[in-house]
């Protein structure tokens, strides 16, 4: 199974019926499948912190939502991760498409992506990065389970090692 199909099935298994996002090319591989599946409701936001807020509201009303973003948008979420998800103990699985690693062509992606694991550590948000297709299920199932058991956000980071690098278009 492609890693993106594994995510879709894991969300279904855990009854995470809503997804919020600001697009990135990596997560779009998952989101496009969720959009095509009538069991899921997929909600695009104008800015990443808004997507965190919507996901928090879905949980507050008894549902479950995952949130998808690119590493460049992570900085936009920090106050919402701290004051909303952590402060209120709201579990949201966070999927972050990581730029700035192997074969990156855009140098400004590097300084925004590199500090993300350290920032998540500082916020006490656990994070995992599957590198091989055959470990995606273990990580994604495990992270979603952990999020709801701990009532905390948990992040899955998609690096080029697993998802490949974006090519410069010219």
């Amino acid at each position: 199974m492609h890693w993106s199909d594994v995510v879709v099935e894991s969300l279904r298994e855990h009854e995470v019926w809503h997804a919020t996002y600001v697009p990135d090319a990596i997560n779009w591989q998952v989101l496009s499948k969720l959009e095509a599946d009538s069991a899921f409701t997929v909600i695009p936001a104008s800015r990443e912190e808004e997507a965190v807020g919507i996901a928090a509201g879905i949980y507050a009303a008894g549902g479950r939502a995952a949130m998808f973003m690119q590493s460049s948008g992570f900085g936009n979420t920090i106050n919402a991760l701290a004051q909303l998800l952590t402060g209120y103990r709201i579990p949201v699985p966070l999927f972050i498409g990581m730029r700035g690693g192997l074969s990156e062509f855009n140098e400004v992606q590097v300084p925004s992506a590199r500090p993300i694991p350290a920032i998540l550590d500082t916020l006490h948000i656990q994070h995992y990065a599957p590198e091989r297709e055959d470990e995606v299920q273990k990580y994604v199932d495990g992270a979603i389970e952990l999020a709801y058991a701990s009532r905390m956000p948990v992040a899955i980071l998609w690096y080029a090692q697993l998802v490949g690098a974006k090519r410069a278009t010219s």
């Binding site: 912190e49 807020g53 919507i54 402060g87």
Partner: protein, 186 residues
């Protein structure tokens, strides 16, 4: 009119419908009007109260969902109006208490004091049901219409501040969230 007069009018009209309050005075005044499990008080994440309410409205389509925003906070997250317009949840009622200032931080004038019209921004964002009120009577009329008719609704309310002292609500946020969520899950 005062925020607490508007809150009293709203609270008289709800049963188990959720009310989600912006950080600062909206949270304080809602709590002072009488605590209820279906109140979600925010203490931070400035700007996001309407986003939280959008999530609540989408996850609970059978209940009217009321959110009380502030002018300064909405100015921090204007994109939320476009996102609400795009999803168009018919059960969402977005109330903005516009005192033309960041009251909680000392009353500095916000951009609505120099002419920015939040109702106009809502309309231009694609929200078709926009009302404006400066008196309790006009607010009640808009609220009754918003309760009767499908939305999303945006009710822009001009309010005055009297500077009366407020008590900090005795709320533990995690507990508030758990109780609020139980009003949906049983």
């Amino acid at each position: 009119m005062l925020r607490r007069e508007g809150i009293a009018a709203l609270v008289r009209r709800v049963d188990n419908e959720p009310i989600i309050a912006n950080l600062g005075p909206a949270t304080f005044d809602l709590y002072a009007s009488g605590d209820r499990d279906a109140n979600l008080y925010t203490w931070g994440a400035m700007g996001l109260v309407s986003s939280i309410a959008l999530g609540v409205a989408m996850a609970a389509p059978d209940r009217k969902v009321f959110v009380m925003d502030g002018d300064g906070s909405l100015l921090m997250n204007l994109g939320s109006l476009a996102t609400i317009a795009r999803q168009a949840p018919p059960n969402l009622v977005h109330i903005v208490w516009d005192n033309q200032m960041w009251y909680e931080t000392g009353g500095q004038p916000t951009h609505t004091s120099t002419g920015t019209d939040l109702g106009g921004v809502a309309l231009a964002s694609g929200i078709r049901n926009v009302a404006r009120a400066s008196t309790v009577e006009a607010f009640e009329e808009a609220l009754d219409q918003a309760i009767r008719e499908p939305g999303p609704w945006f009710i822009h309310v001009d309010i005055e501040e009297t500077g009366e002292p407020r008590q900090r609500p005795k709320v533990v946020v995690e507990e508030n969230l758990v109780k609020f969520r139980r009003t949906f899950t049983g």
